[in-house]
């Protein structure tokens, strides 16, 4: 349906013109390369593979430098970035200029590197100083300079700590030893008590033994001079200095930010160049020529020839249809209004290239379900207006664009269904429903939802039948879908027109019993599996009931909206109350929109994935990823 037909292109051209040809093909941007090594084409078996050369390795190295510089500078870029920045436009000559002047990139890389290393150095020193600081802090009570702690002619002095629980015992033991000593507790932390200890040389043995016994840990500040407090002051000054140096480095980095646009452009350019060097690893080559194997979308074949002719006349291009077992990349082609929904299918899986693209059929259902679940006209207006504004203002690309477009369409559907069911800000604005109010007539709404579900499921089955017919298996379509249609419709008609319904159901059932086991050779087995297949009616019933979520989620929106309104209105009375009432309403309804949009998105997707896709969908398509110019920051102008 909307899967683009692919042609397999084989291109043989001259090595001498390889570079310019590849350039032209990259600009053409429509070839999905096939790695010839993977396909092992019989006639190319003995042709050696081409590989990327040193040039590619050099570009790679340069690219990683540019990326490093760019990441480094981005850390210091405080300018406000637009959500979806516009791309810089480069002319061909500017592009070449970049490639010819690569020294600047290397210089920038070295500068960034140097700054980064200095940062690391500062950080290192800070950690060391802070460690020392926390060790010194406990000794502020000691006003003896560290260099004076040690041995004199008759005394020894030392500092250290022992576990606090032993401190009492320790000082008593010292006292009881009746030696000459001086012990000063200096401080205490969670586990240890810190001491300054002086003793007479004659007491050396006793004291050392006691110290050992009570688990004394000696503290040594090594080269430090002066008292603890003096040292702390000194360290604090040093830390301040480091801080100042860091600020200076940050300034240096910020000054380099002017080079960011240059680096960004270069990053893109190098990527494009590197892609072109790398792509040759898919080819095979001889001394004078090389071979490309690639997929090209059928509508682009003319453009491919033009792209080749622009460069040279010496080439052979053959186009052939894919054979049965080849893996074809999938490119979808749908009208703009269906495009946003492609995202939903892609998140499930790309369709099998030989199957069909469900998007055009799925789109109206997805949007409709979304609308029925949010089902508040005012919410729909808000959602559409916001997303339309975002699309207009920020011009997002890729996935964000699709999502906004999807929500915008969903908002319109919400407006439609909200108006039909009379939901306006949870009933705050009293507008009569155009059709009926589901809260008052929930059964009617339930039946409507289930009917919508039946239609959805029938369409899904219809697509399977369509597939069978297209493949020439009309019988399969009649047996597997036709009889089910008859049977199920008959069963449902029993409620309204019993006479007609009965016969339809019976004919359908007989047809199913006779045909559903047709793969079995044995006649008994065949009938048995035919009868068993009727049991599938329960799974159909389950599928249909699943659509009751349309009612439930729709009701949830309406009732929560009402709750928010009623609770807000309770606040009204005086001015302050009214202010709070308005705040509460705005916050509440914003929350309601958010939670319901999320719910509607998830559940509308689920109805497609589980109920709808289950009927016919074949996935596992591989995306079409052409060899092209891929850029993030720049755009090339010819």
């Amino acid at each position: 349906m909307a899967i683009v037909k692919m042609k397999k292109a084989t291109i043989i051209a001259l090595q001498a013109e390889k570079e310019s040809l590849l350039k032209s093909l990259q600009a053409f941007g429509g070839l999905h390369m096939i790695d010839i090594g993977d396909v092992q084409a019989e006639e190319l078996k003995d042709v050696p593979k081409d590989n990327a050369n040193e040039e590619a390795a050099r570009l790679e190295a340069l690219l990683s430098q540019v990326k490093y510089s760019l990441d480094f500078l981005s850390k210091y870029d405080k300018s406000k970035k637009p959500l979806f920045p516009a791309k810089t436009v480069l002319t061909e000559s500017q592009y070449q200029d970049y490639l010819e002047n690569l020294e600047k990139a290397e210089i920038l890389y070295k500068e960034c590197r140097a700054i980064d290393e200095k940062f690391a150095e500062i950080k290192n020193m800070e950690t060391k100083l802070n460690n020392l600081l926390s060790q010194l802090n406990i000794w502020t009570g000691l006003d003896i300079p560290f260099e004076q702690i040690g041995d004199t002619l008759y005394t020894s002095s030392l500092i250290g700590h022992i576990p606090s629980r032993a401190s009492q015992e320790f000082s008593e033991a010292l006292l009881n030893s009746e030696k000459e000593y001086y012990l000063e507790p200096v401080g205490e932390d969670k586990e240890s008590t810190f001491y300054f200890l002086v003793y007479h040389r004659s007491a050396e043995e006793t004291v050392q033994q006691l110290l050992k016994q009570f688990g004394w840990t000696k503290v040594n500040f090594g080269e430090l001079q002066g008292t603890a407090s003096e040292n702390i002051l000194d360290i604090q000054n040093k830390l301040k200095e480091l801080e100042a140096r860091r600020a200076e480095l940050i300034q240096q980095a910020e000054a380099m930010l002017t080079n960011k646009p240059y680096l960004e452009a270069l990053f893109d350019i190098l990527n494009v160049e590197k892609d072109r060097k790398d792509v040759v690893s898919n080819f095979v080559r001889t001394k004078k020529s090389f071979v490309i194997l690639a997929w090209v979308p059928e509508p682009l074949t003319k453009a491919l020839e033009d792209a080749m002719k622009k460069v040279t006349d010496f080439y052979i291009l053959t186009l052939e249809d894919p054979s049965e077992e080849e893996e074809i990349p999938v490119l979808l082609d749908n009208p703009a209004i269906v495009k946003p929904v492609e995202m939903i299918t892609e998140q499930y899986s790309l369709p099998n290239p030989r199957s069909l693209d469900p998007n055009r059929v799925m789109a109206p259902f997805f949007i409709m379900f979304f609308g029925m679940m949010v089902s508040d006209a005012a919410y729909g207006i808000i959602l559409s207006a916001l997303t339309a504004y975002a699309l207009y203002k920020f011009k997002p690309t890729g996935g964000a664009k699709q999502l906004f477009q999807l929500l915008c369409l969903g908002g319109l559907a919400t407006l439609f269904w909200g108006a039909l069911f009379g939901g306006w800000v949870g009933g705050l604005i009293p507008i009569k429903p155009i059709w009926f109010n589901p809260t008052d007539e929930p059964l009617k709404m339930l039946l409507f939802c289930l009917a919508v579900g039946v239609v959805h499921l029938y369409v899904g089955m219809g697509l399977q039948a369509y597939k069978s017919i297209k493949a020439g298996n009309i019988k399969d379509a009649i047996y597997d879908q036709g009889f089910w249609y008859l049977f199920l419709t008959g069963l449902m008609l029993l409620a309204v027109a019993p006479s007609v319904g009965k016969y339809m159901a019976i004919i359908g059932a007989i047809g199913l019993v006779l045909t559903q086991g047709r793969d079995n050779k044995n006649i008994i087995k065949r009938l048995l599996s035919g009868i068993l297949s009727l049991y599938n009616v329960t799974s159909f019933l389950g599928d249909v009931l699943s659509y009751s979520r349309l009612l439930a989620l729709g009701l949830a929106t309406g009732v929560i909206g009402t709750v928010i309104n009623e609770m807000s209105l309770m606040l009204s009375g005086n001015i302050i109350g009214i202010i709070f009432m308005i705040i509460f309403m705005v916050v509440g309804h914003t929350f309601n929109i958010a939670i319901n949009v999320l719910g509607a998105y998830v559940h509308s997707s689920r109805l497609q994935y589980v109920e709808f896709f289950g009927k016919f969908f074949e996935g596992d398509g591989k995306p079409y990823a052409p060899f092209s110019i891929k850029t993030k920051y720049i755009e090339q102008k010819n």
Binding site: I344, Q347, Y348, P442, L443, L446, L545, S546, S548, R549, L551, A552, L553, L555, A556, V559, I560, T562, V563, E566, I595, L598, G599, V602, H603, S605, R606, Y609, V610
Partner: protein, 164 residues
């Protein structure tokens, strides 16, 4: 009128309140647990890669709906018995009906929210390893929600059948 007499004349009302308490209370508890479970898993993912916050938040919101469904039924019960305006006199039989109507969404909400939370927490692993497959994780969690939706529907239809 002595206390006993007053109690018995209003039993219906008490039962209706009990029904709404079961609906909002149990479903709310379930959602709180479910959202909590996902939050723990999500924090793990975000520690590794803070840019995944938005995506994990989507998953965390999923088990939150049961609490809303419960509140929805509770609110409908309240509006039927006139909590916001004039309290309506209801019989004990009617009260029991309100009680019964609150039970499906309460109990199914409680349990389904917890299991949905676990499914969504597992979905966080998908985000950690293959962020592009977020949709599949959401669908697994949404499968659990089906039963909460059905119980909401059951409660709602029961409630709708009670005439006061």
């Amino acid at each position: 009128m002595d206390l006993l007499e007053m109690m018995s004349s209003n039993t219906g009302l008490y039962l209706a309140f009990l029904g709404s308490a079961i609906a909002a209370g149990l479903a709310g508890v379930g959602s709180a647990i479910g959202v909590g479970i996902v939050g723990q898993a999500a924090s793990g993912v975000v520690t590794e890669d803070p840019s995944k916050f938005g995506r994990t938040l989507l998953l965390q919101a999923l088990p939150g709906t049961q609490g809303i469904y419960g509140l929805l039924i509770a609110f409908l019960i309240w509006s039927k018995i006139g909590v916001f305006g004039n309290i309506v006199e209801i019989t004990m039989q009617q009260g029991l009906m309100f009680l019964a109507a609150g039970i499906p969404v309460g109990i199914v909400g409680l349990i389904s929210a917890i299991y949905q939370g676990k499914a969504a927490a597992a979905g966080c692993n998908i985000i950690a390893k293959r962020p592009e497959e977020l949709a599949k994780g959401m669908v697994y969690a949404a499968m659990v929600e089906t039963y909460a939706v059905l119980s909401l529907l059951a409660s709602f239809l029961m409630l709708n059948g009670i005439t006061v």
